[in-house]
Structures are given as C-alpha cells and as structure tokens.
Chain length 188, copies 2
C-alpha cells in the first residue's frame, strides 16, 4: 500500500537491534485519520470472508483493530499480556516470546469472548518472526474458532515469520519490508 510505504519512508526511524520505530503514527501517537485508511484497506482485502470478530493483542494492536472493525461492523477482542503464572480456568492462553524485549509473556483471552462459531480476522501492527501471531492463532484453535485471515500493517518479510504463517493462513500485509540495511528501508 503506497500510502503506508511513503509514510514509513517519511516518518519511520531505524534503531539498533533491527527495530523500526513508527511511534509517530502507529505505536504511541496514533494518526487516526491515517489508520482509518489502513482499516478501509483491510476491509477491502477481507470483506468476502464473513468475519465475525477481530482478534488482536494489547496494546499497539487495539487502535488499528478498532478502526478496522467499524467497517466490518464486528467487535474486537484483544488478548491481554500477563506474566506467566497462575491463570484462571476461564481463559485460553498461549506463551509468546518477544525478541525485541527478550521476555516471554502469556497472552490470554476469556473463553466467553472467542467461540467455535467465530470467523476470526487477526490484526496486528507488526509481523517479524511471527510469535505473537502464532500465539493468537493458538488461542483461536483452542476455542475451535476459524482464522479466516491475518491482516498486518508492517511485515518484516526478511525475518521469515510471514512465509511460515502463509503455509496455513491467508496473510495480507499492507507494507512488506525486504531489508533495513544501512539505515534504509527497502520494500518487497
């Protein structure tokens, strides 16, 4: 999506440790009119999928998910991150390792809000190695819900997570990054 690629080139910052910082429009300051455009694009891509629910994970996924969900007219459920420990029997849970932070946390969803009748569109801001997305698909599998697709804002294609996920799911990324070497973002 050219609108997004242009914005990444304009406002994205490449930090050490292979981090693309897009805090100015996606991860801290949320450019809502711009994110509505991304939401419309997700709707265009997945409008034929009979989506009943959007699933994401707190916190960065919530804004884009809500702004996308209004075009589908469906609710959003966001998985909560908890430190691994005693979990309620009323939740589905899956461990997710964050390479950026070097931590593992449990993502959980109340069983009441994800069911076998759901056709789930998973939305997230970033896809790199795919750990968060794999965790979210695991929550759906535990609930017996069908994952009809995954909508990603920015995919770091060179990290391989997207290719793995595409073996099982339809994954659409609005921007796919081929490389971030020498301080320059190159798209696929």
């Amino acid at each position: 999506m050219k609108l997004l690629e242009d914005r990444i080139l304009k406002d994205g910052e490449i930090l050490g440790g292979d981090v693309l910082k897009v805090d100015s429009f996606l991860n801290h300051r949320l450019d809502v009119p711009f994110l509505c455009e991304l939401g419309r694009e997700f709707y265009r891509l997945f409008s034929d999928c009979k989506v009943t629910k959007i699933l994401t994970v707190e916190a960065s996924g919530i804004g884009i998910s809500c702004l996308t969900a209004q075009y589908f007219g469906v609710p959003v459920v966001f998985a909560k991150k908890m430190r691994t420990g005693n979990l309620s029997p009323d939740v589905y849970s899956s461990p997710v390792h964050s390479y950026t932070r070097g931590t593992t946390s449990e993502i959980v969803v109340a069983k009441a809000y994800l069911t076998a009748s759901d056709r789930v569109l998973i939305i997230d801001d970033f896809l790199a190695k795919g750990n968060a997305l794999i965790g979210l698909t695991s929550l759906c599998a535990q609930a017996g819900a069908e994952v009809v697709g995954c909508g990603i804002v920015i995919e770091k294609a060179y990290q391989g997570g997207g290719d793995e996920l595409r073996k099982k799911y339809r994954v659409e990324s609005l921007a796919k990054i081929r490389s971030m070497e020498n301080g320059t973002v190159v798209f696929c």
Copy 2:
C-alpha cells in the same frame, strides 16, 4: 447517556472489591459499533473545544479514544505504563497508583508527542478516585499543553475523584454511578 446505562444494567457484573466488570463491551471484548455511538456523544459534548489531540492511557482507553478521535479528526496519544525505574529523558512521566491492582506504575509520554500548542481532550474508560486522570493531567502540565476537557465512559461518582477534578477541569461522564450496593447499579 441512556444507551450506556442500559448496557451497563444488562451486561455489567459487580464483583467483589467494588469492581464493575464490563469486559463484554468495553474492557476486553470491544463492541465497536456501540463504542462508535459513545464516540459520537463525546464529539457532541466537546466539539466546540478546538481539540487538537486525544490523550489516554493503555490499554483499555485506546479503543474508545481512537473511535472518538475519528469524529474530531485528531490523533490519539496513549501514555504507556512502565514499572517505576530508570526513565528516558525524552519522556514526561507521572506515578499512578491503581487501587484495583494495588500497584503503582509510571505512565509516560514521549515529549515529542505532547506539546505546548496542544488542546487536549483526555479520554478514559473509568473514573473512580481519579488517579489515572490526575496522572494524565500532570503529563499535560509538564508539556505546557492545555486540558480542554475530560471524557469518561463510566464514573463511579461515589468515589469522589470526579468532584475533585471538576474543581479544575471540565469533566463529562457518559454514565455516572451513584452506588453499587447489594449487587445493584444505581445511576445519579
């Protein structure tokens, strides 16, 4: 707002420790078409305030803030919760105590995203003793930004935080709870 009061009576659960659980539409599963109605109401209430930015705190405030912001055509900035410790010099920060959780955390906003030219509408899901809101107004004061109002989805009026805040700010709550005794929610 009758629509919201009816929804609280229908779907809210009163738990021990004076907790009103509204996970089915506001705090875990987000009923996006319904939250859009709340967003429109916030716009009606604050449309004359020349709002340039909506400020909230992760995670529950993000959804309603984004859905509200689209009517204003302004960005959302969400304060991040961090454990108290070494903070970057590039952020404004304020300690916030959570009575529900019994913990104190630091809420932080990057200085780049909150400035003296901002006219800020603070949005949050709950107002009880008002600690989170006081923290958010402190971030605005540090930035020199003007708080033009606070929009709250559910205020527990009997906890007094709202009255304190109204001495300094315009606070509009879409539902104001007078009491939650004997398992019954009574509105003001």
